[in-house]
Symmetry: C2
DNA sequence: GCGTGTATGTTTGTCGACAATCCGACATAA
DNA sequence: TTATGTCGGATTGTCGACAAACATACACGC
C-alpha cells in the first residue's frame, strides 16, 4: 500500500505502539466470544484457558477484567467469570445503544463528506449483498455486523468506534442467547439499501431514521414478536454444544529478537 | 423510603449483588482521577497505591485494566500505567461522543415521557443553578457534569449510562489537562436552560439541537478559540501540584461477619 | 419422599517473589 | 560542548503457591 504523505510540520515518527500481553489475550478472548468458541454463559476456567494461551493466570485475569468492563464477561465473587448472556428482556437496551451510536456516526459521516470514508462503507455493503446470496447464516451475520461496524468506523470517532466494537460482540451474544438459535433474515438488504441510499444522498436525518427503524425492527424480530409473521429465516448451528473444547490459540508474549 | 411494589409474577428476590474487591478498587481509582487526587499524566505506582489501599498488587492491576478499557488509564509496556491525558487535539473526539450519547438520551427521555425521570433532571438542574451562584469553580464543574450525567441516567439505558460515567471523568481529565488550568464559565446556565426547556416541552429535536450546540460551544471554548472573546471565566486550583500525596482510602475486602 | 446438614473436590482470590525491562545519572570520547 | 556508552536503582510483568469459598454429591433425620 502507498505510504501516507505526512502533513508538513508533523513529526516524522509516530509513537511506537507495541501491544502488551494483556492486549493480545483480551482480543483473543473477544474473538473467542464472537466466534462462539466460548459459549454463552459458560464459566471461564482460568487454569484451563491460561494453559491454552500459554500464559499464567495473572495476565489472563487482567485481560478478563477488560471484558468485564465491556460487559462481555460477568463476574460473581467467589464464582469467577462467565460469558455474559444477553437475555431477551435486555435486547431493547442493547439496540437502543446501537441506535445512539450508529445514528450519530451516520450524521458525522455525512457532515464530514469524506468520499474515502464513504467508500469503505460501500465496500462493506457490497460485501454484505454478496454474502446474502449464500445460505450460510454465519457468513451473513458476520457481513451484517461488519457493515454496521464499518459505518461507525467511517465516522472516525475513536470512542464511538470503541463502543461499537463492543456492541457488535454483544449483538452476537444476543443471537447466541436467543432461544430460536442463531438466525438471520435473508432479506437483510432492503433495510441496508435504504441506509446506504440516505448516506450517499447526504441526508443525515433520513439516514438516522433508516438506521433507527432498521435496528428497532431487528429488536422486535429478535424478541420473537415477528417470529410468526412469515419472515424468511435461515438457521444454522450457532453456538457449539456445551462441553466443546475451546480452541484458543497460544499467545506469543516473549520479547524475542527484533530483527 | 417506600418499598417498590413488585409486579405480579415477578420473582420475590432480586439477585444479590456483592461488590468484589476489584469493583471497590476500580471505583476508588475513578474517584481519585475525577477528584484530581491522581494528577493527569502521573504514573500509577503499583506498590505505593496498593499499600495505600491495603491490598496486594494483583487486584490493583486487575482493577486498573478496567480503567484502561475505559481510556482513563494508558498502558505502555515496560513503563506501566499512567493517568490519561486529554490533549486539546483530542477534545473534538471526546465531545462528539458526548453529543452522541447525550442527544440520544434526551430523545429517549422525551419518548418515554416519564415524569419521575424528568424530575431528577430538573433537580440536577436546580442544583446547578444554585452552584453557579457561588464562586468555587470546582463546585460549579461538579454540578455541571452531574447535570449532564443525570440527563443520561434518566433515559434509563444501562449502556449509555455506563458510557456517560466514563465520559464525565474524561471531561474532567480534559479540564485538568488544559493549559488554562481548571476553568468554568460562570454563565453556564443559559445553555442549560435551553436544554431544560426543550426537555420539558417534549421537543426532542430542539433538545438534541440545544445539547449539540452547548457541547460544540464547550469544545470551541476549551480549545481556546473563544479564550479572548470576553467570556467570563473563573479559575481555581484544579489539579494538585505534582508530588502531592495521593490519598486513597483503604479498601475493605475482608469477608467479615454477615450478621 | 422431602428437606436439611455434612463432607469432598475443585476453583477462585490473594499474596509474595523472581526475572526482565526501563529510566536516569554518570562517565567517556569526539 | 554534544553525543554516545555504561552502570545502578527502581519498577514492571509474570509466575507459582496458599488459603478461602463455592458447587456437587451423599448421608441423615423428619
Amino acid at each position: 500500500m502507498p505510504h501516507n504523505s505526512a502533513p508538513a510540520g508533523a513529526p516524522a515518527f509516530l509513537r511506537v505502539h507495541r501491544p502488551s500481553t494483556v492486549d493480545l489475550i483480551a482480543t483473543e478472548l473477544r474473538n473467542a466470544i464472537y466466534s462462539g468458541g466460548l459459549p454463552v454463559g459458560s464459566p471461564l476456567r482460568e487454569v484451563e484457558i491460561s494453559r491454552q494461551l500459554g500464559v499464567s493466570r495473572s495476565p489472563l485475569r487482567e485481560a478478563a477484567q477488560r471484558l468485564v468492563q465491556e460487559g462481555l464477561l460477568t463476574a460473581i465473587p467467589g464464582q469467577g467469570l462467565r460469558v455474559a448472556t444477553v437475555s431477551e428482556d435486555r435486547l431493547p437496551d442493547l439496540f437502543e445503544a446501537r441506535i445512539a451510536v450508529e445514528t450519530h456516526a451516520a450524521r458525522i459521516l455525512i457532515r464530514h463528506n469524506d468520499a474515502g470514508a464513504l467508500a469503505k462503507v460501500t465496500a462493506a455493503f457490497d460485501h454484505l449483498t454478496e454474502a446474502v446470496k449464500g445460505t450460510d447464516a454465519r457468513t451473513i451475520g458476520d457481513a451484517d455486523l461488519d457493515f454496521h461496524f464499518a459505518l461507525v468506523e467511517a465516522a472516525g470517532n475513536t470512542r464511538l468506534t470503541r463502543y461499537m466494537s463492543t456492541l457488535v460482540v454483544e449483538t452476537r451474544l444476543a443471537s447466541f442467547s436467543s432461544k430460536q438459535g442463531y438466525v438471520v433474515r435473508r432479506d437483510v438488504t432492503p433495510s441496508h439499501q435504504a441506509i446506504m441510499a440516505a448516506l450517499k444522498s447526504g441526508n443525515a436525518e433520513a439516514a438516522a431514521a433508516a438506521i433507527a427503524e432498521h435496528l428497532t425492527e431487528a429488536t422486535a424480530r429478535m424478541t420473537g414478536e415477528l417470529a410468526e409473521r412469515g419472515i424468511e429465516v435461515e438457521t444454522v448451528a450457532g453456538a457449539p454444544e456445551p462441553g466443546a473444547v475451546y480452541e484458543l490459540g497460544p499467545i506469543d508474549h516473549t520479547p524475542g529478537p527484533t530483527d
